[in-house]
Structure formats: C-alpha cells, structure tokens
Subunit: 453 residues, 2 copies
C-alpha cells in the first residue's frame, strides 16, 4: 500500500516565515504614490496598516520570526497534512506521483487563516480596535473573522455582492465569529455609491470591495485595513505552507518536478511555491511552478505588465503588476477568490523573469476536476482549488501519455462545503463558461490608464 | 505548550472491529419476528441484508476482521486525529483535560463513513446491485453515497423531509456522488402514502424513512437495505473509533474518566465508548460513559424499555429497546441525526444494566456549546455533536467548581458546514427549545403497542 499521509508534529510548525525578497534575482519596481508618482514611504501607509506589517512589506530579511502568540494559534490546526493522492492517481492511471498540501483543515477552511492570524495579531499589538476588509467568495473574511474574534478586534467585511448571494453561509460563519458583513458595492462609501450610480446591477468585484474597505479605514483613527492576498507581507505569512511541505516531501523521499496552485491575488500559490523556488534557485534545479487562473480573469496569461491600482476606485498605491486594468469586472464565476484584476508585485516580477509560469482553466473544466477529486480523494474542493486540480489532472495525463513519472505537488487551498450551490448548478448543467475577448481586455486597460506606465 | 494533536499512521488503522457482544455481562433478548413472535432467523433477514452483515449481527466473536478493501478505503481519511481541546479548556478555565476524537475528517464529514464503506463492500461482494436507505440530517446518506459510488453500487436515499429542506446541500453532496434522493414521507411507498394521508404536513422522521426504504428493498431481488445506526453490525464497524482512541490516549499518557457521545441510534457513542468499556470491565475501573440525547427525543432518559419496532410502519423485527414508541414523531430540531424514537438493543441492555448513563440537552444549550467550540477550537461542530459538547462543558465546569482535574474524552462525530442554516437561525434567536410532556410520551407509547412486552 502506498503511504498517503505525511504529518508533522506541532513543534515542527515553522518558527520563521520565508521572505523571497531576499532571494529575488531581479527586484521589482517600487510602489508609487498616485499623487506624487514617487515611491511611497512607510508613513504613507500608516493610516492603513500597523507598522510591523509595513516593515514586512519592504523587508529584505530572508527569515522573519513568527510571533509566539501567532505560533500558538497556528497550533490549533497546523501543521497541515501533506497527502499523496493515491486514489486520484489510480483513477487517472498515471505514473505521476501526485501530492497535495491540504489547507482546508484550518478553522475557516482555507489557507487564508495563516495570514489572518498574523495580521490580527500585529494590529492588536499596535492598539488597533477595528479592522475593515474585503472578501470575495468569503474564505478571507471568514478567516479574518475567526482571528479578530480570538484577539478581541472588531471586524467589518465588504463581501463581493455576487458571492454574498451565491454563498450565504459564509456570511453566517462571519456573523458567528462576531463580524459584520455588507454586500459590496454598498451605499456606505463614496466608492460604492459611484459604482452603483454607474451600474446599479453591478455584481461587485474584489477591486471594488477593496476600495470600500480602504476608504472606511482611512477615515477612522483606530481602524486599519487588512488585505487577504496580493501584498508582500500576505504572501510572506503563507510561506509556512511551503516550509512545512518541504519537510513533508523529504519524509516522502522525493521532491516535486511541478508545483501548482490556483491564482487570484497569489497568496496560496506563493505560500506553497516560494520556499521550493528558493531551493530550486539555489540548486539550479528544474522544478516548474505553475499558477492557474480562471479563463474569465486572465491577468497572468493575457494581461499587461505595468503600473496599476490595486482597487477599482484608485485609492491604493500604484503597483507594478500584471493586470487587466483596475476597471475590469470579471464574469460571475463561482471561484470568487480568483476574481481579481491583477497580480501582486512579487509574483508579477517572477513571471516577467520566467521563474514561474501561468495557465488558465475554464469554469466547467475546473468543476469536472473538482468532482473527480471529491469522488476519489473524498474531499470536496473549493472552486478556486479546483482550478489547480484541473491543471494537475492535465499534467498527470500528459505524464501517462509520455510514459514518464513526474512528481506533482499542489496546494489544495480550501474545502468547498460552502460552495455546494455551485456544485448543484454544475450538476444541472447550469454553470456557464465565459470567454473574454482581446477587445474587452484592451478596452478595460484603456479605461484603466494610470499616470505612469 | 500543551500538546494538542495525536496522530497515528495509516498502518495503525485497526485491522479488527471490536464486538462487545463477546463481553456483555448480560445478553439482550433476541429480536422477534412480528408475525410469529419467535426469535428471527438469519434467513428472515436475507431480503434486507447480505449474509456477512447478518452474521455480524449475531456474532459472539470478540474481534472481526476488517476486509482489505475496506481497510484500504479507510486509509484515505483514517486514522482520525485525537485532539486535546486546549483552547476550550482555557476558555472554561477548567482543570479538566478535554480530548476529542474528530470524525469530521471523513469524506462526508462524519463517523458514518466508517460503516458505510463496510456495508457497501459486503453488499458488493454478495452481488447486490442497489441499496436503499434512509437519512436524517444527511450525514448517513452522504457517507453511503460516497461508499456506493466507490464500489459501483446504485443508491436511493429517503431523506427525512424536514432535514431535506433544512440542509439542501446534503442532497447536492449525495447527487454529486451519483445517488438519488427523495424527501420522506414520499408517495413512492405504501408506508409513505399512509403517513401523508394521516398528516399531509408530516415533517417526517427516521422511523418513517426507514419504513419506506425497507419496503422498497424487500420488494426487489437485487436490492438491499442499509441502516446507518441502531443495529449491532453498525455499532461494530464504528468501534474503530474507540480502538484508535485507546492508542492515542496512551500516547497522551492518560485514560479518560468520562467518555461522552451524542445519541441518536447509538453508533457514534458506541463506536467511541465500547472499546473503553471493555477496558473498564476488565480492570473493574471507574470510567463513566454518558450518552447525550436531545430533550425533545428523550428515549434513554424518559422512554420505556420494551420490545418495539425500529420503524414507524412496523416492517422491521421487534427489538428490545428503550423507546418512545415507534409512532413518536420528534419535534423539528436541527440535530436531525438524533430524531429517532428508540435505541439499539445493545445500548438499551447496557443502560438497563447501568454500565452506561444518559442525559438530555435542549436545542439552544447545544448551539451555545457548539458556538463556543467553534470560536475556541476552530471547528464548526454538527448540531448532533454539539449535544456532546454541551455535556462536556457542563462536566468541565463541574470539575472547576469541585477543583478536581478530570479527563474527558468525547466524540466530535462530524462538522457542521452543512448546518449553517441552523446556526443562522440560532444567531437570530429563531431556534426554539421543545419540551415533551409525560402525557405526550405516554400517548405515543400507547399508540405504539406491539404484540409482546
């Protein structure tokens, strides 16, 4: 019998995060202040983030310690298991070895808890009373609601409207953790009202919800903003996934040829991939790293690398990123966590430098793969994670065709128990695929011009 | 830091089930054929069950081997973790040590998968093509749908109507695993039609759904019936929970003073408790075993010990049981898995002989405890499991008052991700408590007279 599960004990939870900025062959351009077009200074970000997170954002230290209280709270669910997908391998009749790191064991059911705990801790430590955030499908808002409740912080969540109605139990989860939840675009902010004026039927997007949350945070002294992906410090916190996975792959006696993660803003992909990327850079190895985005929101595969805003209203700094334009509103796919117009600065630079690759998967192909995974491996995957699975399946079948055994590692970023409405629609053949034309992308980019390129 | 998680490796999955019938100080009375009032013969059960399960039902062997194929499929999620509830202990400021065995890691999210896999396997091995079953809240139907899909068996599920509408995503899960699901009472059976004639608004009950499933199975040659609790062989399969837990408690360096499980038909309680009960009997120890039922369905604490039918229509053998009468239709609590009028024969005998205890918990107290658990331990518990948690909390607070450190072990039988509608109602103060009067119980028992007492 093939061994399936690789556990670490809780005293093997990493004590440091890995900061890839220390090892990047080519550094990214700095974020710019939109008014001055000069690199932003830490003080510019103080209305939004606690100083420790701002420092992490620009740190060049390779290893940054996990605070004791954060480490303790991690121990309620970490280390997460590494599992060999023996039953999926069998169903695909592939010589490939498929492993997944399962982040669905966290309280809110996804990897988002890793950074939620850290961010809530740093905010608490600096006297912040309230946090405002956005959430797409709800994984991020759920994770932060758990962490804020633990540390006694208030939380207000702007949830992308289409997801708010697609996944009602996410709201219940956040309410159960004492957070308040508002569908976005809302009438609580200038940004939200503007979108609603232009399009009362707007389904919302992560970019819009970010604008709303940033606006509220900037106006209130004891309130800060918190982001669930994209930023350097968020990706940093997620690297505990990959650090654990390296030890677990060592236990399994092999290293991956392919490392795969789904891609929205980049945090689950980066969390798994970056520690392996360091190994690969050091060893001059041939590991491949594949970010999987939805065909309906293809910034990595069809976007442009340029400065852009992180939000729709243009309240954030300008960030060097692969983007579809900050005005882009993605189609209403169920993988709400992937409905973001851009990629973070680090990821964009790595893609530009060909250290990572990207591919795109359509909605029905992702659900097909998710269902196969549920039936074989016994875990209902989140629609986001199902995008990674679709690419894993394709690579495993390619290995079969070529008669080559490859070792594939992917991040099962979360479970899909709150997404059964989407599976219901898929089973009834009611889930459409969406294609985005080159013209739509060009139009969005033109609408999203910023003062610098 | 207190150690939280105790893992076993997959080669430590038990290779034998533990059969408590080999060790019972006093044997229960036999099930009777309702027509002859004579003990039923194996042949009487052949229209309903494969022969191996019938043999297990009456076996006096202490250990019964787990078939290889079943053992292999267990390995996708077993051994399940034993977790020390350090964060709950801290919140309760209790000297008690609280441990839980977490069965929510199984494919369908509850302990039910343990017997589902075994039953599907034995049916497949004897050439059965189709299985019919009932389900309450949907955990059992989900578990069996996963197992039947794996072994290529068709499955038809009668789902108690009130749960069918309370937990719509359970149906989706079963459909995703290729099972068909019908709300019960239905018009597909004589039993269902009779109930609907008497009360078109009937919310359904496990007893009614069992009648419907048994009726269909009995009429079709290649079809068998499958039950998710109550019967001896079902409890037998669940003992892998307790067998694993003994090894894990040994790793933790202590044995429980109290073993606690929620109680519907008895399978999760028995699965955890029986292996410990054997240790306790052998050692003449003082472990206590507490079954926790809902106040609205109090067969153990307020029912009568006598022969009764396992189903509403009176199609099953007569079983010696604690019962509220097979005509009893419990109030519409969300813990649908506990809405059963009776207890299995083994459990009933053990309660009669004072080897186990029982207590009852109201709906709002169970949700209070469940929410505390979710906020501290980071796992949303099923409403059923929340009944066990409520009793754990009470015992932990008692330990604090008495200044005594006790070791408490309970079965977290499943997660509550499909029950968020119930948490939503609870947060809005819309979940009622139900009390059952002595008159109601007396009336139900009088309506449920059987030819023998």
């Amino acid at each position: 019998m093939k061994k399936r599960k690789y556990y670490l004990s809780e005293n093997e939870i990493p004590e440091f995060y890995y900061n890839i900025q220390a090892d990047m062959p080519k550094m990214m351009q700095p974020p710019l202040h939109p008014a001055t077009l000069q690199p932003i200074a830490p003080v510019d970000l103080e209305p939004l983030f606690p100083m420790e997170l701002i420092k992490q954002e620009v740190s060049l230290e390779r290893y940054i310690p996990v605070p004791d209280e954060v480490h303790h709270l991690y121990s309620i669910y970490r280390p997460s298991p590494l599992i060999r997908a023996t039953e999926l391998e069998r169903a695909l009749d592939t010589p490939a070895h498929i492993y997944y790191k399962y982040e669905g064991v966290s309280p809110s059911g996804s990897h988002k808890t890793n950074t939620a705990i850290a961010q809530a801790y740093y905010n608490k430590a600096e006297g912040v009373k309230k946090i405002v955030t956005e959430t797409g499908a709800g994984q991020w808002g759920s994770a932060l609601s758990f962490a804020c409740n633990h540390f006694g912080l208030q939380l207000q969540v702007f949830m992308v409207k289409v997801s708010y109605f697609q996944k009602p139990y996410r709201k219940t989860y956040m309410n159960a953790m004492n957070a308040s939840v508002v569908p976005s675009p809302s009438t609580l902010t200038v940004s939200g009202k503007k979108v609603l004026t232009d399009n009362p039927e707007s389904p919302g997007s992560l970019g819009i919800a970010i604008s709303e949350a940033v606006e509220i945070a900037a106006q209130n002294e004891d309130t800060r903003y918190s982001l669930g992906s994209v930023l350097n410090h968020v990706l940093l916190h997620q690297t505990i996934i990959g650090l654990e996975a390296i030890r677990q792959m060592e236990m399994a006696g092999e290293m991956p040829d392919l490392v795969i993660g789904c891609f929205g803003g980049g945090s689950n992909f980066a969390g798994l991939a970056f520690p392996f990327l360091r190994l690969n850079l050091k060893a001059g190895g041939k590991m491949r790293f594949i970010a999987v985005e939805p065909e309906s929101c293809p910034k990595l595969t069809r976007g442009t690398f340029r400065y852009d805003f992180g939000d729709t209203a243009g309240l954030t700094p300008l960030i060097p990123m692969y983007t579809l334009g900050h005005q882009f509103v993605p189609p209403e796919i169920h993988a709400g966590g992937l409905r973001y117009h851009g990629a973070g600065a680090i990821i964009s630079q790595l893609l530009q430098d060909k250290l990572i690759e990207a591919t795109a998967v359509g909605q029905s192909r992702s659900f097909d793969a998710g269902l196969l995974f549920a039936r074989t491996e016994g875990i209902i995957p989140a629609p986001e994670s199902s995008h990674a699975i679709a690419t894993v399946v394709a690579e495993a079948l390619k290995a079969r065709e070529e008669g080559i055994s490859r070792t594939i590692l992917f991040n099962l970023s979360g479970h899909g128990h709150y997404d059964m409405g989407a599976f219901e629609r898929f089973l009834k053949n009611e889930l459409p695929d969406y294609s985005i034309s080159d013209e739509e992308i060009a139009k969005s980019l033109a609408m999203s011009e910023v003062p610098v390129n």
